[in-house]
């Protein structure tokens, strides 16, 4: 750590300074996203079951374009978020976890974000959630998850019907449930530990590198359908938005995205079952002369929430299967097979007490065809497979309003442990250099502040 910690401290102080400035904006009681809370006048527990998981009302707030009001604050809907963290891995990473960091036991300023969250033109149903993030390990300031939407509610044959349009930058960032990739667990994780190298394209591969236009409709708060199309941004635009353009891919044409969900609710129970997916023709590395890699993701998901007053439980599962037709990679010699499969499974369950103490257990699995061309650089046996468990304990003291001296604050203290039973293909010596899956087991502590 050494000098690293000094620099870390200086940056933390600078960010705290930014925080103090933003306090002048934030004079009303508020919680996660504080600007949403100022707008609605509600505490964060109204929308969140431990942020950022949404309650049924939180989903309707988003569905209706982030425009619901009631609060007295006429201040601009800006909010801040800071995540400071500590990462310990079972074995260090020689040469440093990242540039500027030691091999192990690193403190970092994981995220400093500024949000625009709330109405733009509330009377016209126009609202936004736009995040700009500074990530210290990557030393980058970039646009993060963003969703600007217009929504309109009407009654058709006696049933409430809400229509909406969203312009956004990440497939599934528009979604209302915490099962789809953009908003599923883990909600916070280390940038300084090794994580499995492979994921399906809908799981954030192109987050913030695409612009999408989606249209959605919700019928009777029971059926939700959405279709959208995404296109990659140019390298210049990537750069202007703080996304490192090197090695990015481009889509040929529009990549369609779809989502269908059914949400029955009874008493304190809310259940969702649905499907989602995406289909993209990709020029890997923006190289066009070898044709495209065509990848199709098909996802299935379900969520259950039981939200009583003192005890609460929620569970989410999703399964994504990806078919890869690797024409371009195959022609370029970077894949061995013409066709591959990749599957991802995620399940998590949370229990919370008084919306203050949270315990979470999660299981994740990536499994797919072996392919030396694709995986030999990360896996000694040319396999994408990984398997891991996560346990997490969180303490959120201010879900019902911050401390008297600072009521607009919310904070989450989290402690997470990730236990890999398989990593990039194997349990032992997965990289051919003697590293075992368990060497990447991670103990991760964080403080997540929003104000």
């Amino acid at each position: 750590m050494g000098g690293g910690f000094g620099a870390y401290l200086r940056r933390s102080i600078a960010l705290a300074g930014m925080g103090v400035v933003s306090l002048f904006f934030a004079v009303a009681p508020a919680n996660a996203l504080p600007s949403f809370a100022r707008q609605t006048g509600q505490q964060c527990a109204a929308c969140h079951n431990g942020f950022p998981e949404l309650t049924p009302y939180g989903r309707l707030f988003k569905l209706n374009g982030y425009t619901f009001g009631g609060g007295q604050s006429n201040l601009p809907p800006l909010a801040m978020m800071i995540v400071e963290d500590y990462t310990h891995t079972q074995a260090g990473q020689s040469g440093g976890a990242k540039t500027h960091y030691g091999p192990n036991n690193n403190f970092s300023l994981n995220t400093g974000s500024i949000f625009y969250g709330g109405r733009i033109l509330g009377d016209y149903g126009l609202g936004a959630f736009v995040q700009m993030t500074y990530n210290d390990p990557a030393r980058s300031f970039h646009w993060d998850n963003s969703d600007v939407r217009w929504a309109h509610a009407t009654t058709i044959y006696g049933n409430e019907t809400v229509f909406g349009i969203s312009v956004n930058n990440n497939p599934s960032v528009t979604d209302l449930w915490n099962t789809t990739p953009a908003w599923r667990y883990p909600f916070q994780s280390s940038s300084l530990s090794l994580t499995p190298s492979n994921k399906t394209i809908i799981e954030g591969t192109y987050s913030q590198q695409v612009l999408g236009l989606n249209g959605y409709v919700s019928w009777n708060r029971l059926v939700y359908a959405e279709v959208g199309g995404y296109h990659t941004l140019s390298q210049d635009t990537d750069m202007a938005l703080g996304i490192a353009p090197n090695g990015t891919d481009s889509f040929r044409g529009m990549a369609p995205y779809w989502r269908l969900a059914l949400q029955p609710q009874w008493g304190p129970n809310s259940f969702e079952i649905g499907t989602f997916g995406m289909d993209a023709s990709i020029n890997p590395g923006r190289v066009t002369q070898f044709g495209t890699n065509d990848k199709t993701d098909l996802g299935f998901d379900a969520q259950y929430q039981w939200l009583s007053d003192v005890h609460r439980a929620s569970a989410q599962v999703s399964y994504i299967t990806e078919h890869q037709n690797l024409k371009s990679s195959f022609a370029q010699g970077s894949s061995t097979n013409r066709n591959d499969q990749l599957h991802s499974f995620n399940a998590k369950a949370t229990y919370s007490y008084e919306q203050t103490y949270f315990g979470t257990l999660a299981y994740s699995r990536i499994q797919g065809s072996g392919d030396p061309g694709l995986y030999s650089s990360t896996s000694a046996n040319n396999s994408p497979n990984s398997d891991w468990w996560t346990v997490e304990a969180d303490y959120i003291p201010f879900n019902h309003g911050g401390p008297d001296f600072w009521p607009w604050l919310n904070v989450k203290f989290g402690l997470q442990y990730i236990w890999y039973t398989k990593f990039n293909g194997a349990t032992t010596n997965y990289n051919g250099a003697g590293r075992n899956a368990a060497d990447n087991n991670t103990l991760y502590g964080f403080v997540w502040l929003t104000f």
């Binding site: 509600q42 049924p56 009001g69 646009w143 202007a240 703080g242 008493g267």
Partner: protein, 220 residues
């Protein structure tokens, strides 16, 4: 190394965007202006309609709610709804859920809008009673009709009506979620919800009796 240089350039360029995007949004938001306070009657109607849409996000379509956290409003007494909304607005109703959910909702409601909302919800068809454990219902019914004289618990029906229908500023209890009723009785007892009359009425009730009464009125 080359990658690093790219990043530095990008950081400088994107800083301008980073400032420009939120600024543009803020300006748009400020330009949108505040809702004007003088609204014509026709306008008021559409404000009420739009607000009802927000209210029903928690209180359910037509004020018949799904979750016991959110009280049914359908068929509730008009004067009671208006009085409670004003109590949320001026924070005199200050139990924990009032604070979490309703203070914000009521903060900017004007008197005419409150009147319109109360009118709307009071004229909706009430939620039907829910079934429950028959012995709880029988015990609860006794307290509701006769009170518990030796512990100075009055007959609830003397104010809330024979069928729990309420009157004016006395709320309808019939068909209300038992969980919500029990919470409110606890709130009256602890004075989290300040109301002298209901504190006196409920302070000698045991948790079992509260369960019985809540199940009974919920079944009406």
């Amino acid at each position: 190394m080359t990658l690093q240089t790219d990043r530095t350039d990008a950081t400088r360029a994107n800083f301008r965007w980073a400032i420009a995007i939120p600024l543009a949004l803020v300006l748009a938001a400020c330009n949108a202006g505040q809702p004007t306070s003088e609204q014509s009657a026709a306008n008021e109607q559409s404000v009420v309609q739009g607000t009802v849409h927000v209210c029903t996000s928690c209180h359910g379509f037509h004020g018949r709610s799904v979750s016991p956290r959110f009280p049914n409003l359908a068929g509730q007494q008009k004067d009671y709804i208006a009085a409670q909304l004003k109590a949320f607005r001026d924070h005199t109703r200050a139990d924990p859920h009032a604070h979490t959910y309703m203070w914000g909702m009521a903060a900017t409601l004007t008197d005419p809008t409150i009147d319109g909302l109360a009118d709307y919800f009071s004229s909706q068809k009430p939620a039907p009673g829910t079934t429950g454990d028959p012995t709880l219902i029988a015990e609860g019914g006794k307290i509701f009709k006769d009170g518990i004289p030796d512990r100075k618990v009055p007959a609830c029906q003397s104010c809330h009506g024979k069928n729990g229908e309420g009157a004016s500023i006395i709320p309808r209890l019939a068909g209300q979620h038992p969980g919500y009723i029990a919470d409110q009785l606890d709130n009256f007892i602890s004075k989290a919800r300040a109301n002298e009359i209901m504190h006196e009425n409920s302070k000698n009730l045991t948790p079992e009796e509260i369960q019985q009464i809540a199940t009974y009125v919920g079944s009406l």
